[in-house]
Symmetry: C2
Subunit: 147 residues, 2 copies
């Protein structure tokens, strides 16, 4: 994978209970989550889609449908990928944003990767596997958000 | 608000347990959720940010920081807004996608709107209020997704 550029080398406390996560902290959260959202441009309009994904060797993998508009939009595009978690009662939460190039994984590579333990978001046939290679990873944690 | 164009006038069952939600179903879910994600282009790169929001008179409102890059990016841009929910055990879930123009709400209008019951995502001062007026709303529900 390409070298990942992150905004923070160590946890960086900001004002108002906001903390910038390190790249390692972001990767740990990416490894621990399963549902993410892909931000992509489709027909000149922005769109966000939920995907089930898996982190493997520093890259993100998920499935899309054959011939879908999403698959076309993900062919060699720079996309955003986000995960988050919020606790409304504690007023706490975190989010991780990845920006990177997405690419369709061809069948030869799929074989060498071996089984990817990732279910498609909508059930059924989702024959394409898309990989996002992170170029920039950033994350934030809110420890004591005020209302 | 402008007329909302949706993909489905009534619930539309698709293959493999996937169902297209109606505009009314999408609006009901938008009214019931609190955490959404905004997809926007910042410095020519796509980005996704979590926001706490509220639905008022068919438009989405949330707070951003004074002078933030996000605030600048949201000034009269076409953006994506997404909410979702997934149940990993049931293999079910849904998502709603809104595309619309975002705009900063000026102080006169804020007064006439009255109190917006929406906390900022990161705690602390988030003095700007952003409104997204939906131009396109779509949603999907997975009733029995297969793995």
């Amino acid at each position: 994978m390409t070298e990942v550029v992150s905004a923070a080398a160590e946890p960086l406390p900001l004002d108002q209970g906001l903390e910038v996560l390190t790249t390692q902290q972001c990767l740990a959260r990416l490894a621990g989550a399963r549902l993410g959202r892909v931000g992509v441009t489709m027909g000149a309009l922005p769109a966000i889609f939920p995907v089930n994904y898996v982190l493997r060797d520093g890259a993100l993998y998920f499935r899309t449908g054959e011939g879908s508009k999403l698959t076309a939009a993900l062919n060699s595009a720079v996309v955003a990928f986000e995960i988050d978690e919020a606790d409304g009662i504690e007023h706490s939460g975190w989010s991780v944003l990845v920006v990177g190039r997405s690419e369709l994984v061809d069948s030869h590579e799929l074989e060498s990767l071996g089984p990817l333990r990732v279910a498609p978001w909508p059930g059924g046939e989702r024959t394409h596997v898309v990989r996002i290679v992170p170029q920039h990873i950033s994350g934030r944690r809110i420890s004591h958000g005020r209302t």
